[in-house]
Amino acid sequence: MDATKLHAIDPAPGASGGARSIPDVRELLFGDLWPYAPAPERNVWPIAERYGHFLDGEFVDGDGWFASVNPATEEVVTHVPTADAKVVDRAVKAARSAYETCWRDMPGAERGKILYRIGRMIQERSRELAVLESIDNGKPIKESRDVDVPLVAAHFLYYAGWADKLRYAFPGASVAPIGVAGQVIPWNFPLLMAAWKIAPALAAGNTVVIKPAETTPLTMTRLCEIFVEAGLPPGVVNVVHGAGATGKLLVEHPGIDKVAFTGSTEVGKLIQRALAGTGRRLTLELGGKGANIVFDDAPLDQAVEGIVAGIWFNQGHVCCAGSRLLVQENVADALLAKLDERMATLRVGDPLDKNTDIGAINSRAQLEKIDELVAAGRDEGADMHQLACPIPERGFFFRPTYFTGVTQSHRIAREEIFGPVLAVQTFRTPDEAVQLANNTPYGLSAGIWSDKGSKLFSIAGAMRAGVVWGNTFNAFDPGSPFGGYKESGFGREGGRHGLLPYLEVTG
């Protein structure tokens, strides 16, 4: 769109002109009369060619080096090794030793001070962490800077305070740490997921072996540097790199007392089976197909923001994404018209540009999966609406997309796409909305938009989902427990409830 087209609808009447009706064209023009200049964040922090595993407080070289790729440029960011059984074993032994000789018996107040220091140092290095996260993951810098990294620091600070107050956490019970936790985390929020796993585990007195996702290992190495500088004793946190095979070695290692996994429901089920009969504790944060329900009395303009936050935050790579929009039929047209205009203002592109709203899809494999499901949506007869915006020639990008004419039987209404693709369905009554929202094996999140407080409470109560957002979506806080119902997993992360998976509770 250019300025000429602007003038086509704007007769630019003088300020003293009479009626300024332009009856024929009622289209808003989101154009380039005032283009935002590029505002790229620069990376001034060195990235090494290779980073080893982090075992017993030191970076240790390994074998089977593989590349982590910047998904926005397809350039290699760094290399990490693949942990085999020997490396995993060494990591577990280091964690066990640290648990038995140091961390378990360290007074909670002292553990808390170290966690607090970690949180502070994350704040101190926040810009660096944000930039590196965006480079390795592809998420827009405004999100890594304003959402991920502040939440990472807040998570450590929150749990730091629990370390010496555990006896108050579960009334009437005595609590003790469990031992060595084996943790496997995904690529969508590399640092944040690490914080969600490590902070409560350490606050409760456990030690950790953690495996970051193979496509996003970079920022974990920075976190390890912070652990060292913050005075975390060697072996309390150990990091092993690798893909699914390494994750399998870790969760099945007999020296692990507790497994925590965030990832797909498919892999979660494999882990649950693998741990059957072992007596090892397990928590799972799995997939979702969250419903974002907009009632006819909703604040519609804010609901549009909730839809955007629900499905286009972090390229839709969010397990609790609001990937199903359920809109009351009598406001569906009005809402979607507003959504179209809002979508037109989204800026897709360079994750490091401070004005980018939607960055890169994390990997080629994920992009192909999104392509496949979107093709299925079209083949099954749903109507695709996609922002006609330019996207970079290199890198993995996908335009924000939504489908109308979707029914419960469509794959795009049932399967987790894990991309910026929304399925829109309509409903007629609150009961029907509840029934549609709950008609899924998943149960992680839901959003409700209404101006009526009593309705927010009653529909929230009817949702079979672990997190329900009233007039907001994808809001997170270290004090707010997060986790799923049904096939979205079990156990909670965050808040007081987030301590439970890491404590032996007796009484």
Binding site: A276, A465, G466, N471, S480, Y485
Partner: protein, 301 residues
């Protein structure tokens, strides 16, 4: 009921009417669809009764009944649920001579132990009943988030819970499994196995006369070994509790449970006396069959 009393010779003075032990499903007492029974004998091996032996299809029907009843049970006010559960304690107390008699005659309990077992069962029910309108206050909380939202976490029932209770503690073990699950609004299917099955079905009758809506508690007598695979694999079961140290059972259960990410809680099955110890009752038995839901409500004008 014990076997009919007989005179050593001659005609009986009176022939007692023997009880048919049936499964308790959906508020009704039904025979097994399989037509099979197990022989309940006393410690000397004498015949006591034929007890319905639940099949896979009986289990399926019980899950259906439990699912149908769950929403209504969970929607009752916490106060109302607690009143109904207290009523179970009243009914049990009222029938204590029946249970004591059964424990002694059929289970070989000494009279004193039978009395202790029944007292403990009544007290256990009473203890959990009182939690119905309190556990959310202790297990839930308001979270002080850094944005203008009223954010709170609340325990909610998981849904349909299948229980494989103690093989050793025929009454206290059973109520210690059922009560913490239903307190929060779950409905249960209890699969009762062991040497003494009849108190479980008598318990069903007590529950049925305590204002507990049909389907909230379903009691099937049968063989854990036969029913466990079905319980573990049933896709409309939300959680399973198993009281057994048997690694084979635990493994089988947890393996199949993964098909729909069931919550599986396993505990050991201690000696009878330990079941009666007040230490065996815990808020955290309620906690293990709830989901924590966190809701964000905006604070604005």
């Amino acid at each position: 009921m014990s076997a009919a009393r007989r005179k050593r010779s001659g005609a009986p003075e009176r022939v007692p009417v023997a009880k048919t032990y049936k499964l308790y499903v959906g508020g009704a007492f039904v025979r097994s669809e399989s037509g099979q029974t197990s022989r309940q004998t006393d410690p000397e091996g004498r015949f006591v009764a034929n007890v319905s032996k639940a099949s896979r299809k009986d289990f399926r029907d019980a899950v259906r009944a439990a699912r149908a009843a769950q929403g209504g049970w969970a929607r009752k006010s916490a106060f109302n649920r607690s009143q109904i559960l207290f009523r179970i304690a009243e009914t049990l107390e009222d029938r204590r001579s029946l249970f004591e008699h059964t424990l002694v005659e059929q289970g070989g309990f000494a009279a004193a132990e039978a009395a202790a077992e029944v007292s403990s069962a009544v007290d256990r029910v009473f203890w959990y009943a009182g939690w119905a309108d309190k556990f959310t206050q202790v297990l839930g909380n308001v979270n002080p988030v850094a944005s203008p939202f009223f954010n709170f976490s609340m325990p909610e029932p998981m849904g349909v819970v299948v229980l494989l209770p103690s093989l050793r503690s025929p009454l206290v073990g059973l109520v210690s499994a059922i009560l913490p699950a239903i307190v929060s609004g779950n409905t249960v299917v209890a699969l009762v196995d062991g040497e003494l099955l009849t108190p479980a079905l008598d318990l069903g009758e007590a529950i049925a006369t305590s204002d507990v809506p049909g389907g909230v508690v379903n009691i099937l007598t049968g063989r854990h070994a036969e029913l466990l695979p079905h319980a573990a694999a049933h896709m409309d079961v939300d959680a399973v509790g198993l009281w057994s140290a048997d690694v084979g059972m635990r493994t089988a259960l947890q393996t199949a449970a993964a098909d729909n990410v069931k919550r599986v809680r396993v505990h050991d099955d201690p000696e009878r006396a330990a079941w009666r110890d007040p230490a065996a009752e815990s808020l955290y038995r309620i906690d293990e069959f709830v989901e924590i839901k966190t809701a964000w409500h905006p604070i604005g004008t």
